[in-house]
Point group: C2
Amino acid sequence: MSLDERLEKLSENLPDLTDPKVLTKERLEKMIASNLGFDLFYGTERIDKKTFQALLDFAKEKKVLEKMIGMQEGDVVNIIQGVPSENRPALHCSTRDFFDDVASSQRATLARERAKEELTKLEKFEEKMQKFDHIVQIGIGGSELGPRAIYEGLVSFHKKGKTVDFISNIDPDNISYILEKYDLKKTLFISVSKSGTTLETTTNEKIIRQLLEKAGLKSQHQIISVTQKDSAMDDKEKYLECFYIWDYIGGRFSATSMVGGVVLTFGLGMDFYKEILRGASAMDLVARSEEDNLPLLAALFSLWNTTFCNIPTLSVVFYSHFLSSFVSHLKQLEMESNGKAITKDGKNITFSASPILWGGVGSNAQHSFFQLLHQGPPNAALELIGFKKGQYDEDFFIDKTTSQEKLLSNLFAQSIALAKGSENENPNLNFPGNRPSHILIGRRLDPYSMGALLAFYEHKIVFEGFLWDINSFDQEGVQLGKKLADDIIKIYKKEKDHKFDLAEVFIKRLQEKL
Amino acid sequence: MSLDERLEKLSENLPDLTDPKVLTKERLEKMIASNLGFDLFYGTERIDKKTFQALLDFAKEKKVLEKMIGMQEGDVVNIIQGVPSENRPALHCSTRDFFDDVASSQRATLARERAKEELTKLEKFEEKMQKFDHIVQIGIGGSELGPRAIYEGLVSFHKKGKTVDFISNIDPDNISYILEKYDLKKTLFISVSKSGTTLETTTNEKIIRQLLEKAGLKSQHQIISVTQKDSAMDDKEKYLECFYIWDYIGGRFSATSMVGGVVLTFGLGMDFYKEILRGASAMDLVARSEEDNLPLLAALFSLWNTTFCNIPTLSVVFYSHFLSSFVSHLKQLEMESNGKAITKDGKNITFSASPILWGGVGSNAQHSFFQLLHQGPPNAALELIGFKKGQYDEDFFIDKTTSQEKLLSNLFAQSIALAKGSENENPNLNFPGNRPSHILIGRRLDPYSMGALLAFYEHKIVFEGFLWDINSFDQEGVQLGKKLADDIIKIYKKEKDHKFDLAEVFIKRLQEKL
């Protein structure tokens, strides 16, 4: 079944970007949207004026702006109609709405006040963190990916003498490596779990606690928690401090809450952390606007490519070297939010939705997987992101251009090459072209634009959910694996009451051969 | 057009893994192949006995074993019939064939002797490296990804007091970060480019050379090169030492040549480096064998899922925390090798081939993109890799099991959950199942098994190429973007003779807003 007949019809007649009369300078000049210092170039998408208008109309029909404002104001957006579901708002914007008072509803205002309290607590706690040289966040999924992406992306803003690391994996090597690298005495640990029950996190925290005690250190002086009020991790006897999050903050949307706040303040300082919040909040406003709504436009391209052009994956390539962790964050954000089987009405999705998101950093990726993007099957749409200036003040002038100019030349070249292609009588040198992409260029990757970028993607993914009628805020798909893993652990424990015996085959085999 | 009618026919009737009478313990027990300490469990693939036999028959028809032996012996496998092409052998196995004299042809023997010479040179050079604390490899694509994956994967084997890093990106931030981190005086640089002309590498080398001179250091005493004989980088006046590679070693297959050799010897020591070579060479032998040929089996599952089940992507998940860089290596290996449009006869590929490869590390990925794998569109086959023991000697016993046991329980649980699914009247808790995967388990990720794993994937990808009739050894698809980038750089240089003026739009816009 088609999601929209008008768009379906338009997709039967895509503009041919390999035709120089189609892919013109005039086209590229017209197809630009700008906001908050970002330019979005979309002349290399397979879209014409008519399609663009139809996409905007579709967004209007779906009331996506109203829904976005509703989400920011505290509407119950995390819901599946007619069946038991989480039934709650998604108020992550409230964790940074400290500058323009974007939201005004009672619910959003309360959420903002709560978030402000935590920020005030953090401002006081900053002093206590000073005696530590290292901070290690124990957390997995959204408790690692967003904060890590922000921290690693802002290399030139790192506080001297302070290091930030993560223990996320249940793999014992993850902890052993951390122990080898850092002096326990000088290390502050942050345990992050909303529920307070995540297997990986609680296990790793127990291990760290034992190791601290073994080293003669007091674990309650070196571990803090970020969790929900009244969870098992909300305990001032066991933790040096407890910071709060709430059920309306989803893990993958939690980077601007204390899930990111403590670790980023330690690694970057409070001023830069606030700049991140300021940038994110400014993008929250952009996401409410009728004009030049960058996240909405990006979501519409995603809708077009995924649903109407049937392209099953989206490749995101950052032309900024230290954003490679940002790709990992985006993988969760996109696929955990929108990798679903049903709509918000509990009906099976019958159209193509939910792209697989993957990617890397450029120019490196050009020397890796771009071969397939140019000549392989047309299974990826592209998003190319860059910045006018490098993050460090230094640039290098070699052979009449700077490195940043060379980098951007490569970015632009890829977008054009993928669109226009090139014919050659040698079939191995033939490029079919018509591979869609768009380009997002920011001024410079500083804390403010990092915050804006974070929120840009959060809203893009949410808009996609609104367009596809998907609940982007739950993740029931991870439950079955968890349940089975708990059951298989019982085999290792030699408990007899485990239900699924298939894994016995693997375990027996491994034990035979040890 | 179908690649094979018998397999096509079999794909119309796939085994239903959600049926407990199909997915039995007996099935899992039968569907195991073992070699070199690795177990490959493939009972969770959508394959039955008949299909398995048909796949083996197809491999035989395609003469893949003869071709593999031919490749290792120096046959001209890098060729497209009927059109100009690179026309050369792919002799990467010769760079590690030092233990069992696997190859015996004159060409392979000569290649082995040449590689041995370089190893001897490296053994002598090891002494000279001792005075440096840091080594930074300047190289991009295969000159970074393989060596980095191996180095970062073997954390517990790192030499104390020595650090290894890479400058790959033309992004100036990449160099600035390195300069901030390392004392130039204590840093040895390795410039790696087969042709000696790679834009990123030659530019970055020039920058480093200027910075060394500016710091009063002699660049010819601190930079060595890895390149082809007689390239611009084969120059003992400019480099402390020059190591050689040859035109028959492709970048993405070069990790066991001096491209990886120098940097790995610095970071891990010569003994461990040789263990890596030993493991890789042992797997080269496995790839020649009729029985339990692990890379061939993995390639056959890839053929089955990609071509006959039309699954467009392969998600590789390592349940070993520090193999996340290995995913980046594999992305190049798979997509640059097999992301092609034509067969070796120069004809258009008319069947589904060339999966997009992406992935991550487990258990982390379960808290990120596994939502989509379980409930999203069925666009990914899975490969799950783990080890019986952790890499460090230490494991942690909490709540009656060790962390490694918890990790493996998660790995096994995912494979079974994806296959068997689970029905629920709440559609949001419904899991369709029948999502194919296989599991590869090694003993422990030490240098030997790292080498074996590296070669396992090299051969898997090459076998895929043989099965699809693709030339896996060239990468003409990267040329158009390079050409366009060179042209766009001319705009920045204000040279008037550039040919493609589309990018002027982007550049003008950026300059307006600076």
